[in-house]
């Protein structure tokens, strides 16, 4: 323990210099030097060997269950904060193996969840949109009472049953709605974390954006101040936010696929890159 070493150093210095003349100035200089060396030692140890100043007896350490859970999630979603990272060789090898299995699994899972959520969202959107349409266009609704000739010959007749059926096949959720949804989620997360962690809104939204785009710098992470209130719960909440947000993004990808492709094709044709009968890329 280096601290004991420093203390011993100081005391032995004092004993030595006490015997000499003008020991006060000499001693002051020596103390100065010792303290500065100690500071450099602290810094070097922190940087190189990742010691974060916590001693074994004091706290639980960095790798509690909650932070390890968050760590595992950041590995499989490839976010990779890095504020906790394995330092032992075994930890690193296991991380690699864990990632090789976990990343495809997570991708598969997210795709599936995205599909399910997209279907549900389309249904919901269709119902809401249709409800609005139905109430708006009420006067147009006609019901011909079972007259076979008229029923066959009249394509303009829209009965109540037909209207909900038609949109079910051709529901396109507009891209702007999906973007709005994602932005709202980022903003909601920003507000939540800003409230909990005493961040400002910009920092909160910066964190949410960097997390949801799976960039994951790790310079700011909620729940890292282990002395703060409810640190473990914050980490778990962060993990939940993450997973939910990625599912949301998967859902939006699913919803806007056709729309984006069509728009790209349109853009390509406008720019003259793409011929009418060709497909881009």
């Amino acid at each position: 323990n280096s601290r004991e070493k420093v203390v011993g150093q100081l005391i032995s210095l004092a004993v030595e210099l006490q015997r000499t003349e003008r020991w006060i100035e000499n001693f002051t200089g020596e103390v100065n030097r010792t303290i500065i060396d100690h500071q450099e030692f602290i810094h070097r140890t922190t940087k190189d060997r990742g010691w974060d100043g916590i001693e074994g007896e004091d706290e639980e350490g960095l790798w509690t269950f909650a932070s390890s859970l968050l760590y595992a999630i950041t590995v499989t979603t490839t976010i990779g904060y890095g504020h906790v990272a394995p330092k032992t060789p075994e930890g690193r090898i296991v991380t690699i193996g864990y990632a090789v299995v976990g990343i495809p699994l997570t991708l598969l899972c997210l795709t599936n969840i995205g599909d399910v959520m997209a279907t549900g969202f389309r249904l919901l959107y269709g119902k809401i949109c249709c409800g609005v349409c139905c109430t708006l266009f009420k006067p147009r609704r006609r019901r011909i009472p079972g007259d076979p000739e008229k029923g066959l010959a009249g394509p303009m007749v829209t009965t109540e049953e037909e209207q909900p059926d038609k949109p079910k096949e051709v529901i396109h959720v507009p891209t702007s709605l999906c973007l709005l949804l994602i932005a709202a989620y980022i903003f909601a997360g920003a507000m939540l974390f800003a409230m909990w962690e005493q961040w400002d809104i910009l920092t909160g939204s910066y964190f949410c954006f960097i997390t949801l785009s799976t960039i994951g710098f790790g310079d700011i992470v909620p729940g890292m101040d282990s002395n703060a209130w409810a640190a473990e719960e914050k980490l778990v909440l962060c993990a939940l936010y993450l997973v939910l947000g990625l599912s949301l993004i998967a859902m939006c990808f699913n919803l806007v696929q056709e729309d984006v492709k069509a728009k790209c094709r349109w853009l390509g044709m406008k720019l003259g890159i793409v011929e009418k009968h060709e497909t881009p890329l």
């Binding site: 004993v15 303290i35 500071q39 490839t78 990272a85 960097i210 785009s213 960039i215 890159i273």
Partner: protein, 415 residues
Amino acid sequence: MGAPRKNHPLCRKIMKILFSHVGLCGMVILYCVAGGFIFEHLEKNNEQQICYDSYYEYIPMENKTINSTLKIFYDYGGAVTTAETRELMIIQLQSILQTFRDNTLAIGYDGRSCNLYGKENGPVYEWSWAGGLMFSVTVITTIGYGHIAPKTVWGRLVCIAYAVLGIPLMLLCLANIGSVMADVFRFIYAKICCCGGCRRKKKDNVVKMKHFDSNKSRQWTVDKSNIIAEDRHASVSTEFSNLKSRSSTGSMDSSEDRLDSKSSKNTFGIGKVKIVPLNVTKKNPLFMNDDSDDEDDEDDLDEQKITVPLTITIIVIGGYIFGGAILFGLWEGWDWLQAAYFCFITLSTIGFGDVVPGTDFDNPQAQGQLLLGSIYVLFGMAILSMCFSLMQDEILAKARWIGLKLGIIDKETED
């Protein structure tokens, strides 16, 4: 729709160049280089400012610690040598040093001379151009190391905008490059794989032709192209196979002569009329089974249906990681496991940032290391994209097979 084309042919040409394969790559590289400059400009001054701030916070604390230490010694006067006083002093000194350590870590000042930034013997800017370049690359590939991250308000806003534009651009470029490289790889693989296999088949053809010649039918045109072009008659192919089998056994009888004359009449008549160019032969599936197919014909057909096996793509990825591990291990002085760990974490875009090349700023080659790191990342992403493109069909087929085996998927209804 036609009007814009007529009015701006130059514009259209520029757009076409921009979005071609080379154009996309160029755009990504330019985007990264520009990002390096942008972030360097935004964050460099702030880095020095942070240093000054922490320095001014640290110095009073250091002085206080020194004074407290000295005070302890003065209090006890000359009685340093007695046991009890020594015990007390040790306890007090320890607590002082502990406070000092906590404060040092909280302030985060590491003893560098802030006014010497960028000068000789002074600390090296983390946000140099190369550092900014590495940062930009990690943003648009979503790796996101975080060993340097923007701290200014503008830096963070620009980072968000940079990501929103850059990530789709990068994905587009990767998709493009992936498919191009996959085609090239398949082509090379086919050539290497087929050359070994096709040489054998060529010999068989030669042997059979020799038998033909010895079969005396002068009317046979042994020109390969013409024979292959006769796709009209299945009988011709059956004659062919009959003759083949007979030639392999080496026996010749009168029936053979009869067949010869009959078929030769057929084919010769047709052969005279029809002179089919060689490239037509490529589309004849009938002759796929015949060994007498043209060598090029077989090559092309094989190319179309060739799938690079899964093991080869995995070997490619593993090889790239291994190569990178050796390279960075040598240049950065890491041990092998650390370097391999870095390569894997980077290429999977997890990107912890605990191990990053070019961050050891005592090393004068730090800038070059950062540059090499960025290039490694970009190229690695391209190779990964190519491997995904190659693996797709294989993986789908295998997943379907597993699903069938496990009974998840019915034989009739496959998803």
